[in-house]
Symmetry: C2
Subunit: 214 residues, 2 copies
């Protein structure tokens, strides 16, 4: 067994440390984050930092990194209050990865990486047409973390645009049918396979599978 201590972590070569630390936590949710400026210039970037915060109110958090300052995402979200998260599919995951390149702020990653925009009602941020699960969020809270200069954005889910048959009878999204991908670390992409759905756990009751694949 390898035992890496705090002092050793700090002595690791920089790129090795970034890859190790970023991949430790396991598989991460993978989404394209869509925004638009007040002038209508759109922006799209791949993120793996979205996390569930609660269902009532329906809230998600995302982490925005400081080195992304040249990226217009944070500016757009602060000025319009709207942003979208869209799942990533195997057919075009390489194009999705390409949105992480540093394009000039007047270039839309929608156009240059080959994504189609989808709008709903008066919502200011564009969704990704090629996705199968799309979430529209309204900014609720900004938490600036002094400890490392990152920003946590908390948004309320105000739109869910899902392709037909992607939501199971009990409300759970069928991500296998939706062809949702996952990522570990910076660049390792995965397509998960269902193992099982388990019943609500209670003391004294043996854990067991639910009688449904979805």
């Amino acid at each position: 067994m390898i035992n890496i201590s705090s002092e050793q972590i700090y002595q690791l070569e920089k790129q090795y440390r970034i890859s190790l630390i970023n991949s430790l936590v396991g598989y991460k949710s993978l989404n394209l984050l869509g925004t638009a400026s007040n002038e209508g210039i759109t922006n799209l970037c791949i993120i793996s930092s979205a996390f569930h915060l609660g269902a009532n109110p329906p809230l998600l958090g995302i982490v925005i990194r400081p080195e992304r300052e040249q990226n217009s995402t944070l500016t757009n979200i602060k000025s319009t209050g709207h942003y979208t998260l869209n799942n990533v599919l195997p057919e075009w995951y390489m194009q999705a990865h390409q949105t992480s390149a540093y394009y000039p702020s007047d270039v839309s990653e929608f156009d240059t990486c080959g994504f189609q925009k989808l709008y709903t009602n008066h919502f200011k941020a564009p969704f990704v047409k090629q996705s199968t699960i799309r979430i529209g969020l309204e900014l609720r809270e900004i938490i600036d973390l002094e400890i490392n200069g990152t920003t946590i954005l908390i948004g309320e889910i105000v739109h869910i645009l899902a392709n037909d048959d992607m939501i199971a009878a009990d409300g759970t999204v069928d991500h296998v049918k939706a062809k949702t991908m996952s990522v570990a670390g910076l660049d390792a992409y995965f397509l998960p396979q269902a193992v099982g759905r388990l019943a609500y756990a209670k003391p004294g009751i043996e854990p067991h599978e639910l009688n449904k694949s979805y």
Copy 2:
């Protein structure tokens, strides 16, 4: 296509809404969170809220939910400052799920759900022996969110205990070899399959695979 608006989300049946909102964001990292009280009573619970915050300093966030008050996890972390995250494997994922049951605070989920404890140096929280990737964290920051009563804990990675051959040459954890599982929503468990590793994205360069599986 289904278009669910904010008003409709609030009108959904409670359990349906919880399952839908919790599963929207895609696959989540899956870990067993290990702690101990100052008196040495250990606690273990499955979580899917861990997220990467940054590599320098090496930080992870986790979300603790208010209904978990009877659970000793938060108390233990606040009093000892130490906690562990341990990956979940298919051989015993049902036991891992079982740790989410509400056991009395004097019952250790390590013992009742069949997990062995592993300790290192003077670190106060127990790791899970059956896991292959284990992270030791020291509490750095507590963020109480008024918006829904949850708490975000930010911890610094101070120990990495990995089984042999789980870390690739470039530092990325090989979660396929580690047999790490993922979860979507409350109860749907997955084993991801590798699709590809992609090169660092640059404007004007076509996205392409790295010449390595790991």
